[in-house]
Homo-oligomer: 131 residues x 2
DNA sequence: ACAAAATGATACCAATATGGTATCTTTTAC
DNA sequence: GTAAAAGATACCATATTGGTATCATTTTGT
Protein backbone atom coordinates (compact mmCIF):
# COMPACT_ATOMS: atom_id res chain seq x y z
CA UNK A 1 0.00 0.00 0.00
CA UNK A 2 1.54 3.21 -1.05
CA UNK A 3 0.33 6.74 -0.95
CA UNK A 4 2.49 8.29 -3.63
CA UNK A 5 2.41 6.98 -7.18
CA UNK A 6 5.29 7.31 -9.53
CA UNK A 7 3.72 10.20 -11.43
CA UNK A 8 3.45 12.22 -8.26
CA UNK A 9 6.93 11.25 -7.24
CA UNK A 10 8.37 12.32 -10.58
CA UNK A 11 6.35 15.52 -10.53
CA UNK A 12 7.84 16.39 -7.16
CA UNK A 13 11.35 15.76 -8.39
CA UNK A 14 10.84 17.79 -11.55
CA UNK A 15 9.21 20.69 -9.75
CA UNK A 16 12.02 20.80 -7.22
CA UNK A 17 14.52 21.01 -10.05
CA UNK A 18 12.56 23.71 -11.83
CA UNK A 19 12.32 25.64 -8.59
CA UNK A 20 16.06 25.44 -8.10
CA UNK A 21 16.65 26.59 -11.65
CA UNK A 22 14.79 29.76 -10.68
CA UNK A 23 13.87 32.10 -13.52
CA UNK A 24 15.85 30.05 -16.00
CA UNK A 25 13.56 28.01 -18.23
CA UNK A 26 13.92 24.26 -17.76
CA UNK A 27 13.53 21.96 -20.74
CA UNK A 28 12.30 18.41 -20.46
CA UNK A 29 15.60 17.13 -21.82
CA UNK A 30 17.57 18.78 -19.05
CA UNK A 31 15.07 17.86 -16.36
CA UNK A 32 15.09 14.24 -17.50
CA UNK A 33 18.84 14.13 -17.07
CA UNK A 34 18.77 15.92 -13.75
CA UNK A 35 16.05 13.78 -12.23
CA UNK A 36 16.72 10.37 -13.80
CA UNK A 37 13.18 10.15 -15.09
CA UNK A 38 12.49 8.74 -18.58
CA UNK A 39 12.11 11.71 -20.86
CA UNK A 40 8.83 10.95 -22.69
CA UNK A 41 7.16 10.12 -19.41
CA UNK A 42 8.39 13.28 -17.77
CA UNK A 43 7.09 15.20 -20.71
CA UNK A 44 3.61 13.85 -20.23
CA UNK A 45 3.75 14.72 -16.58
CA UNK A 46 4.83 18.27 -17.26
CA UNK A 47 2.08 18.64 -19.83
CA UNK A 48 -0.54 17.83 -17.24
CA UNK A 49 1.13 20.10 -14.72
CA UNK A 50 0.87 22.83 -17.32
CA UNK A 51 -2.82 22.19 -17.96
CA UNK A 52 -3.47 22.24 -14.24
CA UNK A 53 -1.72 25.58 -13.85
CA UNK A 54 1.18 24.37 -11.74
CA UNK A 55 3.79 25.30 -14.33
CA UNK A 56 3.83 27.62 -17.33
CA UNK A 57 5.25 26.42 -20.62
CA UNK A 58 6.83 28.14 -23.57
CA UNK A 59 7.05 26.39 -26.89
CA UNK A 60 9.67 26.59 -29.56
CA UNK A 61 13.40 26.54 -29.45
CA UNK A 62 14.73 27.46 -26.04
CA UNK A 63 11.32 26.77 -24.59
CA UNK A 64 10.46 24.76 -21.50
CA UNK A 65 8.84 25.15 -18.12
CA UNK A 66 8.83 27.50 -15.16
CA UNK A 67 6.77 27.40 -12.00
CA UNK A 68 3.42 29.13 -12.36
CA UNK A 69 3.63 30.38 -8.76
CA UNK A 70 5.94 30.44 -5.80
CA UNK A 71 7.35 27.09 -4.70
CA UNK A 72 5.76 27.75 -1.32
CA UNK A 73 2.35 27.78 -2.97
CA UNK A 74 2.67 24.33 -4.56
CA UNK A 75 1.39 21.72 -2.14
CA UNK A 76 2.09 18.02 -2.27
CA UNK A 77 -1.58 17.33 -1.65
CA UNK A 78 -2.42 19.19 -4.84
CA UNK A 79 -0.06 17.01 -6.85
CA UNK A 80 -1.56 13.88 -5.34
CA UNK A 81 -4.95 15.16 -6.35
CA UNK A 82 -3.85 15.79 -9.91
CA UNK A 83 -2.19 12.45 -10.52
CA UNK A 84 -4.04 10.10 -8.22
CA UNK A 85 -7.42 11.69 -7.73
CA UNK A 86 -8.88 12.99 -4.49
CA UNK A 87 -7.90 11.33 -1.25
CA UNK A 88 -10.79 9.13 -0.24
CA UNK A 89 -9.71 6.75 2.44
CA UNK A 90 -12.99 4.88 2.61
CA UNK A 91 -14.21 5.09 -0.93
CA UNK A 92 -15.73 1.61 -1.31
CA UNK A 93 -17.85 1.74 1.78
CA UNK A 94 -19.06 5.16 0.95
CA UNK A 95 -19.64 4.89 -2.78
CA UNK A 96 -21.71 1.75 -2.84
CA UNK A 97 -24.66 2.01 -0.55
CA UNK A 98 -24.77 -1.71 0.00
CA UNK A 99 -23.56 -1.62 3.52
CA UNK A 100 -26.29 -0.24 5.77
CA UNK A 101 -24.75 -1.68 8.86
CA UNK A 102 -23.68 0.32 11.83
CA UNK A 103 -20.21 -1.11 11.36
CA UNK A 104 -19.49 0.69 8.15
CA UNK A 105 -20.82 3.94 9.48
CA UNK A 106 -18.50 3.90 12.47
CA UNK A 107 -15.67 2.95 10.18
CA UNK A 108 -16.61 5.73 7.84
CA UNK A 109 -16.57 8.41 10.50
CA UNK A 110 -13.29 7.10 11.87
CA UNK A 111 -11.74 7.11 8.43
CA UNK A 112 -13.10 10.54 7.69
CA UNK A 113 -11.33 11.88 10.74
CA UNK A 114 -8.13 10.15 9.73
CA UNK A 115 -8.47 11.54 6.24
CA UNK A 116 -8.90 15.13 7.40
CA UNK A 117 -5.88 14.77 9.59
CA UNK A 118 -3.80 13.38 6.78
CA UNK A 119 -4.78 16.07 4.34
CA UNK A 120 -3.92 18.83 6.75
CA UNK A 121 -0.54 17.25 7.35
CA UNK A 122 0.03 16.93 3.63
CA UNK A 123 -0.79 20.59 3.17
CA UNK A 124 2.27 21.49 5.17
CA UNK A 125 4.50 19.95 2.53
CA UNK A 126 5.32 22.31 -0.33
CA UNK A 127 7.93 22.33 -3.04
CA UNK A 128 9.62 25.17 -1.18
CA UNK A 129 10.07 22.94 1.83
CA UNK A 130 11.83 20.38 -0.31
CA UNK A 131 14.57 22.57 -1.75
CA UNK B 1 -6.43 7.53 -4.27
CA UNK B 2 -7.88 5.20 -1.75
CA UNK B 3 -6.44 3.63 1.33
CA UNK B 4 -8.74 0.65 1.71
CA UNK B 5 -9.05 -1.93 -1.05
CA UNK B 6 -12.08 -4.06 -1.54
CA UNK B 7 -10.50 -7.13 0.09
CA UNK B 8 -9.85 -5.21 3.25
CA UNK B 9 -13.29 -3.69 3.14
CA UNK B 10 -14.93 -7.09 2.76
CA UNK B 11 -12.73 -8.56 5.47
CA UNK B 12 -13.87 -5.84 7.85
CA UNK B 13 -17.51 -6.51 7.06
CA UNK B 14 -17.15 -10.26 7.45
CA UNK B 15 -15.20 -10.00 10.69
CA UNK B 16 -17.79 -7.64 12.13
CA UNK B 17 -20.50 -10.16 11.30
CA UNK B 18 -18.54 -13.03 12.78
CA UNK B 19 -17.93 -10.99 15.90
CA UNK B 20 -21.62 -10.28 16.24
CA UNK B 21 -22.44 -13.94 15.79
CA UNK B 22 -20.32 -14.54 18.87
CA UNK B 23 -19.50 -18.16 19.66
CA UNK B 24 -21.80 -19.37 16.92
CA UNK B 25 -19.84 -20.61 13.92
CA UNK B 26 -20.36 -18.52 10.80
CA UNK B 27 -20.34 -20.21 7.40
CA UNK B 28 -19.29 -18.45 4.23
CA UNK B 29 -22.76 -18.95 2.78
CA UNK B 30 -24.39 -17.09 5.63
CA UNK B 31 -21.73 -14.40 5.76
CA UNK B 32 -22.06 -13.83 2.04
CA UNK B 33 -25.77 -13.21 2.44
CA UNK B 34 -25.31 -11.02 5.48
CA UNK B 35 -22.61 -8.84 4.01
CA UNK B 36 -23.62 -8.70 0.33
CA UNK B 37 -20.20 -9.95 -0.75
CA UNK B 38 -19.87 -12.49 -3.62
CA UNK B 39 -19.54 -15.87 -1.98
CA UNK B 40 -16.45 -17.34 -3.71
CA UNK B 41 -14.57 -14.11 -3.20
CA UNK B 42 -15.48 -13.96 0.45
CA UNK B 43 -14.34 -17.53 0.79
CA UNK B 44 -10.91 -16.67 -0.52
CA UNK B 45 -10.69 -13.76 1.86
CA UNK B 46 -11.61 -15.91 4.85
CA UNK B 47 -9.05 -18.49 3.81
CA UNK B 48 -6.29 -15.93 3.99
CA UNK B 49 -7.62 -14.59 7.27
CA UNK B 50 -7.42 -18.14 8.56
CA UNK B 51 -3.85 -18.61 7.38
CA UNK B 52 -2.89 -15.33 8.98
CA UNK B 53 -4.42 -16.38 12.28
CA UNK B 54 -7.18 -13.81 12.40
CA UNK B 55 -9.94 -16.42 12.35
CA UNK B 56 -10.10 -20.12 13.12
CA UNK B 57 -11.85 -22.48 10.76
CA UNK B 58 -13.57 -25.82 11.16
CA UNK B 59 -14.14 -28.04 8.17
CA UNK B 60 -16.97 -30.38 7.45
CA UNK B 61 -20.69 -30.05 7.79
CA UNK B 62 -21.69 -27.32 10.19
CA UNK B 63 -18.21 -25.88 9.89
CA UNK B 64 -17.22 -22.29 9.34
CA UNK B 65 -15.29 -19.51 11.00
CA UNK B 66 -14.90 -17.88 14.39
CA UNK B 67 -12.58 -15.09 15.49
CA UNK B 68 -9.19 -16.35 16.57
CA UNK B 69 -9.02 -13.69 19.30
CA UNK B 70 -11.07 -10.96 20.86
CA UNK B 71 -12.55 -8.42 18.46
CA UNK B 72 -10.67 -5.75 20.39
CA UNK B 73 -7.40 -7.40 19.38
CA UNK B 74 -8.05 -7.29 15.65
CA UNK B 75 -6.71 -4.04 14.27
CA UNK B 76 -7.64 -2.46 10.96
CA UNK B 77 -3.98 -1.79 10.28
CA UNK B 78 -3.31 -5.53 10.45
CA UNK B 79 -5.96 -6.24 7.82
CA UNK B 80 -4.53 -3.56 5.57
CA UNK B 81 -1.16 -5.20 5.96
CA UNK B 82 -2.52 -8.61 5.06
CA UNK B 83 -4.42 -7.59 1.95
CA UNK B 84 -2.53 -4.57 0.71
CA UNK B 85 0.94 -5.01 2.05
CA UNK B 86 2.77 -2.77 4.50
CA UNK B 87 1.98 0.90 4.55
CA UNK B 88 4.82 2.64 2.78
CA UNK B 89 3.87 6.17 1.96
CA UNK B 90 7.01 6.96 0.02
CA UNK B 91 7.95 3.63 -1.41
CA UNK B 92 9.27 4.76 -4.81
CA UNK B 93 11.67 7.33 -3.49
CA UNK B 94 12.96 4.97 -0.93
CA UNK B 95 13.17 1.73 -2.87
CA UNK B 96 15.06 2.94 -5.87
CA UNK B 97 18.21 4.70 -4.90
CA UNK B 98 18.21 6.82 -8.01
CA UNK B 99 17.33 10.02 -6.29
CA UNK B 100 20.30 11.26 -4.30
CA UNK B 101 18.99 14.75 -4.10
CA UNK B 102 18.36 16.58 -0.87
CA UNK B 103 14.80 17.08 -2.07
CA UNK B 104 13.81 13.47 -1.80
CA UNK B 105 15.42 13.08 1.56
CA UNK B 106 13.41 15.89 3.09
CA UNK B 107 10.32 14.45 1.49
CA UNK B 108 11.19 11.04 2.82
CA UNK B 109 11.54 12.20 6.39
CA UNK B 110 8.33 14.19 6.14
CA UNK B 111 6.48 11.21 4.74
CA UNK B 112 7.94 8.93 7.36
CA UNK B 113 6.55 11.15 10.07
CA UNK B 114 3.19 11.21 8.38
CA UNK B 115 3.27 7.46 8.03
CA UNK B 116 4.01 6.83 11.68
CA UNK B 117 1.18 9.12 12.61
CA UNK B 118 -1.23 7.36 10.31
CA UNK B 119 -0.34 3.91 11.53
CA UNK B 120 -0.81 4.87 15.14
CA UNK B 121 -4.22 6.31 14.30
CA UNK B 122 -5.14 3.15 12.42
CA UNK B 123 -4.16 1.06 15.39
CA UNK B 124 -6.97 2.64 17.35
CA UNK B 125 -9.50 1.07 14.99
CA UNK B 126 -10.43 -2.50 15.91
CA UNK B 127 -13.28 -4.78 14.96
CA UNK B 128 -14.63 -4.30 18.47
CA UNK B 129 -14.95 -0.59 17.84
CA UNK B 130 -17.01 -1.28 14.75
CA UNK B 131 -19.75 -3.40 16.33
C1' DA C 1 13.31 31.60 -45.24
C1' DC C 2 14.13 27.57 -42.89
C1' DA C 3 15.94 24.11 -40.03
C1' DA C 4 16.40 22.88 -35.30
C1' DA C 5 14.56 22.63 -30.89
C1' DA C 6 11.17 22.75 -28.10
C1' DT C 7 6.09 21.70 -26.36
C1' DG C 8 0.94 19.97 -27.50
C1' DA C 9 -2.00 16.32 -28.43
C1' DT C 10 -2.89 11.75 -28.68
C1' DA C 11 -2.65 7.03 -29.52
C1' DC C 12 -0.67 3.05 -28.23
C1' DC C 13 1.45 -0.75 -25.47
C1' DA C 14 3.25 -4.07 -21.81
C1' DA C 15 3.08 -5.41 -17.22
C1' DT C 16 0.86 -5.65 -13.03
C1' DA C 17 -2.91 -5.36 -9.75
C1' DT C 18 -7.63 -5.96 -8.80
C1' DG C 19 -11.88 -8.26 -8.37
C1' DG C 20 -13.87 -12.32 -9.10
C1' DT C 21 -14.98 -17.37 -10.77
C1' DA C 22 -14.44 -22.35 -11.20
C1' DT C 23 -12.91 -26.79 -9.90
C1' DC C 24 -11.34 -30.32 -7.36
C1' DT C 25 -9.91 -32.26 -2.81
C1' DT C 26 -10.49 -33.01 2.04
C1' DT C 27 -12.93 -33.16 6.26
C1' DT C 28 -16.84 -33.95 9.23
C1' DA C 29 -21.69 -34.31 10.96
C1' DC C 30 -25.86 -36.61 10.37
C1' DG D 1 -22.33 -42.84 2.66
C1' DT D 2 -23.69 -38.54 1.45
C1' DA D 3 -24.26 -33.77 2.01
C1' DA D 4 -22.25 -29.63 3.64
C1' DA D 5 -18.71 -27.33 4.76
C1' DA D 6 -13.61 -25.44 4.18
C1' DG D 7 -8.70 -26.02 1.65
C1' DA D 8 -6.07 -25.45 -2.35
C1' DT D 9 -5.33 -23.70 -6.59
C1' DA D 10 -5.84 -22.36 -11.20
C1' DC D 11 -7.92 -19.34 -14.03
C1' DC D 12 -9.90 -15.06 -16.11
C1' DA D 13 -11.55 -10.29 -17.33
C1' DT D 14 -10.86 -5.63 -16.52
C1' DA D 15 -8.59 -1.50 -14.85
C1' DT D 16 -4.57 0.84 -13.61
C1' DT D 17 0.16 1.91 -13.99
C1' DG D 18 4.28 3.09 -16.16
C1' DG D 19 6.02 4.13 -20.27
C1' DT D 20 6.72 4.75 -25.61
C1' DA D 21 5.86 6.60 -30.22
C1' DT D 22 4.20 9.75 -33.54
C1' DC D 23 2.77 13.71 -35.59
C1' DA D 24 1.48 18.57 -35.32
C1' DT D 25 2.57 23.19 -33.79
C1' DT D 26 5.32 26.94 -32.21
C1' DT D 27 9.46 29.62 -31.78
C1' DT D 28 14.29 30.89 -32.10
C1' DG D 29 18.81 31.30 -34.30
C1' DT D 30 21.22 31.71 -38.48
Amino acid sequence: MKLISRDTDYAVRALSRIARNGNKISSVSNLAKETAVPRPFLRKILQTLNKKGVVNSSKGRGGGFVLARGADKIYLVELINIFQGPIKLNQCLFKKKICHEVASCVLKSKMDALEKNMISELKSITIAVLI
